[in-house]
């Protein structure tokens, strides 16, 4: 690990000012960033710790949406009675991230800002058509995820909360990489007020919508309809854990399992 400066921010405004001044990185739960720093893959001159900022915490219902503070941990989302009741698929997804230690430290805002190609939360945000709220603006899910570890966030922009519209029904199913337990492929299927949305994580450079499956499910919301869609392997990842063709196969299979689980 390279040497770095550490600052604890008291408020979002305080954190944004520190980021703008130092050109550093925001530290949330540190479950990805600190690991990358240990491997010397990341070298931020300054870490601005935002995990303790009170205004970034808490989960509340806002009309037909559940609004989750960016510094809510995965464990807090998984155990929230409100999330479990309104969007059980989201609570279940949070319960399946990493292990207990990761869930007690990692945050939803940190996961989204990092945008790991195999992270779980981006699939939920994209499939549910959520809105990412920052200290500067509101960003629709379809505009947020830009590339591998790339988002629409600016350098001193901080996610404050994520607003999830409550779907009619939804489910997330992932096939775990046997070594890392990250999603080799994960598929989030949601029947929203604006139609069926299907988001895929783990399979490509970043989370994306499977429009072919969305179209099939719009006609017939059945497991068979999802499974019948043949996904092209172009642009999907190949590594020692699975070829692009295998991942393409998994997308249809997991989508059909998610439809069955959504009921």
């Amino acid at each position: 690990m390279y040497a770095f400066e550490y600052q604890r921010a008291k408020s979002v405004a305080d954190a944004a000012a520190a980021l703008a001044k130092t050109g550093g990185k925001a530290l949330a739960g540190g479950q990805s960033l600190v690991g990358a720093m240990k491997l010397r893959l990341a070298n931020p001159g300054t870490l601005v710790d935002i995990a303790g900022i009170a205004e970034l915490k808490g989960i509340k219902q806002d009309g037909a949406a559940v609004v989750i503070g960016a510094m809510s941990t995965h464990a807090e989302v998984a155990s929230s009675a409100m999330v479990k009741k309104a969007i059980p698929a989201l609570a279940a997804l949070a319960e399946g991230i990493g292990d207990r230690q990761v869930r007690n430290r990692g945050t939803i805002g940190g996961s989204l800002a990092n945008n790991d190609p195999a992270a779980d939360y981006p699939a939920a945000v994209l499939a549910l058509g959520a809105t990412v709220q920052t200290n500067k603006r509101k960003i629709a899910a379809d505009e947020f995820f830009k590339g591998m570890y790339e988002t629409a966030l600016g350098a001193d922009e901080i996610i404050t909360a994520i607003s999830f519209p409550v779907p009619k029904k939804a489910a997330y199913v992932k096939f775990r990489n046997p070594a890392s337990r990250f999603a080799l492929v994960g598929v989030f299927v949601a029947q929203t007020q604006n139609g069926v949305r299907v988001a895929v994580t783990g399979a490509a450079a970043h989370v994306h919508r499977a429009t072919a499956i969305e179209n099939a499910l719009a006609k017939s919301f059945t497991a068979d309809a999802a499974k019948a869609v043949k996904i092209p392997a172009d642009h999907l990842n190949t590594d020692l854990h699975g070829s692009a063709e295998y991942r393409a196969h998994l997308v249809s299979v997991l989508a059909s399992r998610a439809v069955a689980a959504a009921g």
Binding site: F175, P178, A179, S180, F182, L184, L240, H241, G242, S243, E245, Y246, H249
Partner: protein, 93 residues
């Protein structure tokens, strides 16, 4: 595992090298069966790494048995989900 072209180690951490965890272990019952060796006075046998020698062969035999109905003739270790799927795809063609 190493990359064939460059020699680069691909399984450099437990993020890529599948280390079995406690929840990978099936439940099992232990039992002992005493069969003294007849070729030495103590009746002792070498028994080091018994699990590492017999278990992979037994497991791969079981995998082959399960896949044989689909026409899979041969599968190399490790029987990862991807390799089992690939073997089934090849056998079907």
């Amino acid at each position: 595992m190493y990359d064939k072209e460059s020699g680069q180690l691909l399984t450099g951490s437990y993020m890529d090298y599948a280390m079995p965890r406690s929840d990978d272990l099936p439940s099992f019952k232990g039992a002992t069966k005493v069969t003294p060796c007849t070729h030495n006075p103590l009746g002792a046998k070498g028994c080091g790494e018994a699990g590492a020698i017999g278990a992979p062969a037994a497991l791969m035999n079981a995998v082959h048995d399960a896949l044989s109905a689909s026409g899979v003739q041969y599968l190399d270790m490790p029987a990862t989900p991807h390799r089992v799927w690939q073997a089934l795809q090849t056998a079907r063609q």
